[in-house]
Symmetry: C2
Subunit: 521 residues, 2 copies
């Protein structure tokens, strides 16, 4: 079957249809204007639900029958348990036993723990996956073995796709560390505590039918009701829903690499020099070693300057929690907790606030929090001289990562990518990224161990830092230095002419495709 | 113009259309099954909103122009400021100046402070009002002077009507005691604090366009964001949005009437005798003098028995707050705060929980909290021998009250109406209520100063209390006693054959009509 392609605003060729659905090529940032109305879930009536509020059923099988699961439907799940999820493999085992086929699995992300779902693809239970595929599932798709095409979306893009009706969820499965019989549930407590459940919020609001799965049933009311029981059809109690050690790491580690520490320090010095670090500022940094080190450096600077942040955005870690508890920030606005201290703080600190992709990232809303941030510090696998960046594939073309909130954060007032200029002798600064995940116009600053490159569009930042003494240089100069050291640009990966995945932009248009690797076959 | 009527399941005649919309007659509790999907608000895009999140505009006029208000649209508002609202009269003054006509005003309730909106009806700015009309606006409608027909809905019914698309809100105006520039807002703090904003939640989620009006702008983020800025189009700052003394009463008063105290005590004794008062129970009682006295009596009993409630439902008052802070209840699940202590507790106590008509009352959801309550204690203007009850008109036919959450609470496991058997020598227990607002099948117990009547459907309650020594008697016997004392049934009001309002049931069907009073003309 031949596929028709259109070229998008960044010059990439985009298939007209993917998994049977028409696609719109990326038109440029802010150019695509959605028309029409939000998705409208079916009406329900209390007359069809137990008046005593007890929705507990005896098993996953019973719950899946109750909600009417059928061939070809879409089943969704969240990834707050990360690599410690004990629910979805069991769910698909039960579905296989029920003889139901050709499902679309729509997780907010999948992890190596979901490797058994390769078997559920082989036996026809799962048709294909839309959502990030980390590890074995991504490898399976990269080999061209998945029946449909992967669709990678940011956290905000996933909300947008559900809200806009691009993805219709028939059955949402929401694994919950604590729940009541009515279906109210929370992630901030219980033996499998994961902090929050924001990635499942859209599913609970828009799915036709919703199943909550918990290992910690508490008397009504379960508060905070991060997910509201009024959207829930059935509750299933299992012995164990998550593996705590793999849900959150007990400790989060700052990088010890001298290069990475230098990059983190340069990033902190840059935000100070640019006037971004001021009383009442805000920032987001992830849980990677460099980002954590950045948070430590700016914390020191804030103490020194006697200033505080108005809010910091999580993924929360013990470092952000320390900032909150020390008074270096008024609030943590958190989208997911990355360690046990984050979970504890979410439960205990009233100013550690539960956010969702709706509040933080949804581009088809009346604004969101991402664009209010003064600075965001993110990673990338590749950046090119047009400041386009890649987070899903490496230079060798392998699909290894999801998008997460990365695309959404690019709308921050200053987007900074502190990255090494090369990894394992492979250049990270390149002429053209393998896969465009972030358009260069939104990426403001690249910080490497060889110097800082500012996007020429940001004359304000160039002016503000020109007398700072920081090693600011054109990105082409960094690229040239790297190419000299590595012996030239990275080898181009060889692809088969088959899309194994597409990369959605935050507005539902298509930024790029990921092709099947020749080397894998 | 002649109107066609159909008889509903309770024998009342219901117009086929009201305000141009087709109506379904009440079919019986739980009999009407909604089909179709929820209302779907228009898609928005961040590209159309300020990236710095600042949605503040200079005036109400500017905001109303920005959201595109036009003739014939529906403008909604909430009633958390009760009789202290300073916003909606100003809004309609501005609309009048703009020359916009024939609006439908859709408040969650209106109060005597809104008397100036009679002028906005006379000058054509407002076409008609759907929502409870307390005081002068109700009187104006009762005289047949409002152009359209009033539609009275319960709090849950209002959510259901919005959610189901029966009422489309073009522009929601949300007065907020505290807000940020992005439109996040809360009711629990600020000079005009009213506790919470739950009655405006549906408006914020489903309206095409949303304007927040505040007198207390705080730096982003305003938390708790009871209303989320992602649903907000514009923010207007006024000098003063509410009159604090009229928003909440500083003190809430327990009845001193010996009869009312007796009724409250009998009610408390009944819930104990019936086995409802047990460790982990739950109840809802309003802010009226009798209900407050009931709460005091059951608190004493709980102390005596060494038990506590799992939750009590507010309207919160200082009495419920004392129960929470003393440990007599684990939670207050609150829908509106009735006094300053309620506002303080909502702000300070993590177990004083913000609820909305969605969580508590919406009948077109997958269950709600009302049916989980062990007992609810409510008022009524009339009850008939079939246990049908009335809360909107008096025996003289005057429309004096809204429905509030009253209909929704009837789904409690035990609905008790502690009421005097007569008021001002007019019988309250009658042969047939003037207006049916609650079907008798949901009303379990009537407690009067002359004895307790149990609905014959509730054999379980009859059995449980038969040896209690409580003065339990048939409702007909109470009616006969009252009629003997008052000289017979109340005089039938004389009506003109014109509907001035209809009474919706929680599922959107029509329970009854209210006719124009002949005496008023």
């Amino acid at each position: 079957m031949s596929v028709d392609y259109k070229q998008n605003a960044l010059g990439r060729f985009i298939p007209n249809t993917v998994n049977g659905k028409e696609q719109t090529p990326f038109l440029g940032v802010g150019k695509y204007k959605p028309v029409g109305n939000k998705a409208a879930p079916p009406l329900a009536t209390c007359a069809d639900y137990p008046t005593d509020g007890n929705k507990v059923v005896g098993s996953l099988h019973e719950a899946l029958e109750k909600v009417g699961l059928q061939d070809g439907m879409t089943v969704s799940s969240h990834h707050h348990f990360r690599n410690g999820d004990l629910v979805m493999n069991r769910v698909f085992d039960v579905i296989k036993e029920m003889g139901i086929k050709d499902l679309m699995w729509f997780p907010s992300a999948s992890f190596p723990c979901h490797a058994p779902l390769i078997e559920r693809q082989k036996d026809g239970t799962i048709h294909h996956i839309e959502g990030s595929m980390n590890g074995p599932l991504g490898d399976y798709a990269s080999q061209g073995k998945m029946r449909g095409t992967g669709v990678l979306r940011s956290h905000g893009g996933r909300w947008q796709a559900i809200q806009d009706g691009e993805v219709h969820i028939d059955v949402a499965v929401i694994a919950a560390p604590t729940a009541d019989q009515f279906g109210n549930c929370t992630g901030d407590r219980g033996p499998s505590a994961c902090g929050l459940l924001g990635f499942a919020l859209a599913d609970s609001v828009y799915a036709d039918r919703v199943i909550v799965v918990t290992d910690n049933l508490v008397p009504f009311p379960c508060v905070p009701w991060q997910i509201q029981g009024q959207n829930v059809d059935a509750v299933v109690v299992l012995d164990k829903v998550g593996n705590p050690e793999k849900i959150v790491s007990g400790t989060t580690k700052i990088t010890r690499s001298p290069d990475r520490l230098l990059i983190a320090e340069l990033t902190a010095k840059f935000v100070r020099a640019a006037g971004i670090l001021r009383d009442g500022w805000s920032f987001q940094a992830g849980a990677g070693g460099t980002a954590l080190a950045f948070a430590i450096f700016v914390s020191d600077m804030m103490r020194e300057l006697g200033i505080k942040a108005r809010f910091v955005r999580g993924g929360s870690t013990k470092y952000l929690v320390e900032m909150l508890e020390e008074g270096l920030t008024d609030f943590i606005l958190d989208g997911q907790t990355f360690d046990l201290e984050g979970v504890r703080s979410m439960r205990e600190n009233p100013n550690h606030i539960n956010t969702s992709p709706f509040t933080s990232y949804n581009y088809h809303g009346k604004g969101n929090f991402a664009s209010l941030m003064d600075a965001v510090v993110l990673g990338a696998t590749e950046v090119d001289i047009n400041f386009n960046a890649n987070v899903v594939t490496h230079s060798d073309g392998r699909l290894l990562h999801g998008i997460g909130g990365w695309q959404n954060c690019l709308f921050s007032k200053c987007t900074i990518l502190p990255i090494p200029s090369m990894r394992d002798r492979v250049p990270v600064i390149v002429d053209e990224v393998t896969t465009i995940v972030g358009p260069g116009e939104l990426i403001d600053v690249i910080v490497t161990e060889r110097g800082i490159a500012i996007n020429p569009r940001r004359k304000d930042l160039i002016d503000a830092t020109k007398s700072s003494g920081l090693p600011i240089k054109p990105i082409e100069q960094i690229r040239d230095e790297v190419f000299r050291l590595t012996g030239g640009p990275p080898a181009k990966p060889e692809f088969v002419d088959k899309d194994i995945a597409i990369i959605k932009w935050v507005d539902g248009t298509v930024l790029d495709t990921v092709k099947q690797l020749r080397i894998n076959n």
